[in-house]
Amino acid sequence: MPEPKTIAVAMSGGVDSSAVAAMLRAQGHNVIGLTMQLWNQRRLSGHEGMPEQVAGRCCSLDDVYDARRVAETIGIPYYVVNREERFERDVIRPFVQEYLSGRTPIPCSLCNNHLKFDQLLIVAQQVGADQLATGHYARVAYDDRRGRWLLKRPADTSKDQTYFLFGLTQEQLSRTLFPLGDMLKPEVRELARQHGLALAEKPDSQEICFVPGGDYKRFLDAYLAEQGEKFPETPGELVTTSGEVIGEHTGVHNFTVGQRKGLGVATGSPLYVIQIKGGTGEVVVGKDEELFSTTLRAHRVNLISVGESDLRDPMRVSAKIRHRHPPAAATLQMVGPDEVLVTFDQPQRAITPGQAAVFYDGDVVVGGGWIL
């Protein structure tokens, strides 16, 4: 039995974080359940055909209800804290801005950096908890040799969430626990069952929590309408890689790199979005093979296992350019203040500005940055 500690658990009302709370409680720790209220799911209802309320998602009342029930079942105090303003400022606004600039954002990473491992960590400390535990599939460990906290891939590689956690600082990692890092998902469900948690069979959440049905265009419409802001007009030309104008489009937010459908032009061979030029509104299209490239630059870099000086010389890594991307062998090098160059051994398909590039050394997260 580990020494009993006071541990706050970030509870979402899902199986994973519920299992974490139950497990830590069973280990004899003094557990406090916390949930952040981040977004009012009913807020945009009535705007542009948004649904009334979406159940089974982050911040829906159903999820808070589920989390509360779990807390009651396992016998821990549970609190909801309101961080809607922060969420809107640090996640929603940048999300909207990125799309309108022709990039494809990842709100989950922003939420981890600005809310879960910032605001919630502060609340945990305020209420007297030494550490914050979450239901993420990842591992955290202290490396004596390097004198650094490391973020590592979990035992269940199919559930690996390290891609969304690359922004964690040493300070944040030092106070974070990922109790599911050594477990497989079926074991987690079994654990929830053993603790008599009614939600053991609840399906995993997949979508972006505040975008019902994954329809981000509808969300953008509704949000801007609610804010009384005009949808910025970003029409432009569809241009082939050889510079030929083959059509026009109504706005850059309609496109994402690698997209094939919905281009509004009919040509003989299938066309894909290769590049979106936010400045001129030009959307460059081309053949599938033109989607491949061997280099990317990333900025707003966070390094975990190494320091900046360690990257003056190129480092061999494997790099992920989206959540479901299998890590690809590459060379990583610092090329400017807060900017890295990644050179892949093999060309990679659809490197997408706005997404994160995350670098691994085996199962250790070296760091990551935002693709330019």
Partner: protein
């Protein structure tokens, strides 16, 4: 763990005498008060005795009391009951949501609503109410005591404004009943709401005083219960409990229980004011004896509430929304408090069951917890560094 409850404006424990009074009305005296047989007569008598007791607390006739499911229903019945479509309603920015949101719904039904502001102490000026009057004003609704600050509004003066203008006057007295004397005639109220669970009766029962000759439109369609003003079989155990609680509230006021509450409240305030950068919100206004709202600058009230709860002290901040998350207080904001100060404010509300020992327990926790939270606050640390 020792647990001390200082959140009596949210709800109060049912007093043992109240519980004893209602207990026989579940299984023993279970009749429907509308039935003609013995069982019905039995409970009808109990309901009418309770009505008399509530009437006595408010200084009105028994026939002017309508039992409801609670304060919210009483407020809704009052607001929707006398404001016809197309009319004008005056209310204030610090009302309970039961009134504010009812008024919002009225707007959707074609009424116009004027929301009168309050001053820095959270007090409404009767002149502002007067100035807001229009030829088609049907209702003025101003609460008697505020739930967050305890501030007592100049109800008599507003009642006079209403009488002179010949406009219906409703006051939400949910937080005043049992804490300060109420006399509907002196207040000039046509409608007055109370809630059982704020005065040691259970949740789920309340009452609306409706002055005789008030033309009140019922909200529910059904039987002719409560003189056709509130359809639905009476909640007999709840009503009996409310009757008993009203009786205890009346005798308590005669015994000057309010002075005991005020002594505990004052002791809390004195000790809190010894903490740096701490103050009493609405200190300059007349207030109910049981409530104090304190701003501990540079902390988050939300965190303080949680930290104190984990140590056994129950207090609150603002009003909780459906998820249980804390929203910024519309009352403190309306008084002109900065968002930071509103977020740094906590409400301590005492009840008959509380003791001076419990006040001491609170005082053993609050100052050290505030100090610890300030230590963790980057803003506070920066200010401290600048001062030294």
């Amino acid at each position: 763990m020792l647990r001390v409850y200082f959140d009596n404006n949210a709800t109060t424990p049912v007093l043992p005498e109240v519980f004893e009074a209602m207990r026989p009305y579940f299984s023993e005296h279970f009749g429907n008060a509308s039935s003609i047989h013995h069982h019905g007569q039995d409970t009808r008598a109990a309901v009418e005795r309770a009505r008399e007791s509530v009437a006595e607390l408010l200084g009105c006739r028994a026939a002017e009391i309508v039992f409801t499911s609670g304060g919210t229903e009483a407020d809704n019945l009052a607001v929707f009951g006398v404001a016809p479509s197309g009319s004008h309603v005056i209310t204030t920015s610090i009302e309970h949501h039961a009134v504010l949101n009812a008024c919002k719904a009225l707007e959707a039904r074609g009424c116009s609503v004027t929301v009168v502001p309050v001053d820095g102490q959270g007090v409404v000026a009767p002149d502002d109410i007067k100035r807001a009057l229009r030829p088609n004003t049907a209702l003025i609704s101003v609460m008697m005591a505020n739930n967050e600050t305890g501030v007592l509004q100049p109800i008599e003066a507003i009642g006079q404004v209403a009488a002179e203008a010949d406009v219906y006057f409703h006051t939400d007295a949910v937080q005043a009943a049992g804490k300060v004397p109420i006399d509907v005639t002196r207040l000039g109220a046509d409608l007055l709401s109370i809630s059982g669970h704020k005065l040691h009766a259970p949740q789920g029962v309340g009452a609306l005083y409706v002055r005789r000759s008030t033309k009140l439109e019922a909200m529910f369609y059904g039987g002719s219960h409560e003189r056709s003003r509130r359809a639905g079989t009476e909640n007999v155990p709840g009503i009996v409990a409310l009757g008993k609680a009203a009786e205890l509230a009346r005798t308590g006021l005669e015994r000057s229980d309010d002075r005991r509450l005020a002594a505990m409240r004052d002791r809390l305030e004195q000790a809190f004011l010894a903490i740096d950068e701490t103050g009493v919100n609405s200190a300059g206004a007349p207030r109910t004896p049981n409530t104090t709202n304190i701003h501990f600058d540079h902390i988050e009230g939300e965190a303080l509430v949680i930290a104190l709860d984990l140590k056994g002290l129950a207090v609150s901040t603002g009003a909780a929304c459906s998820s249980g998350a804390i929203e910024p207080s519309h009352v403190l904001t309306a008084m002109g408090l900065s968002p930071d100060r509103a977020r740094a404010s906590l409400r301590f509300s005492l009840g008959k069951q509380n003791t001076m020992d419990e006040v001491d327990f609170a005082l053993s926790l609050v100052p050290q917890t505030v100090a610890r939270l300030r230590e963790l606050s980057p803003v506070y640390r920066k200010l401290e560094a600048a001062r030294h």
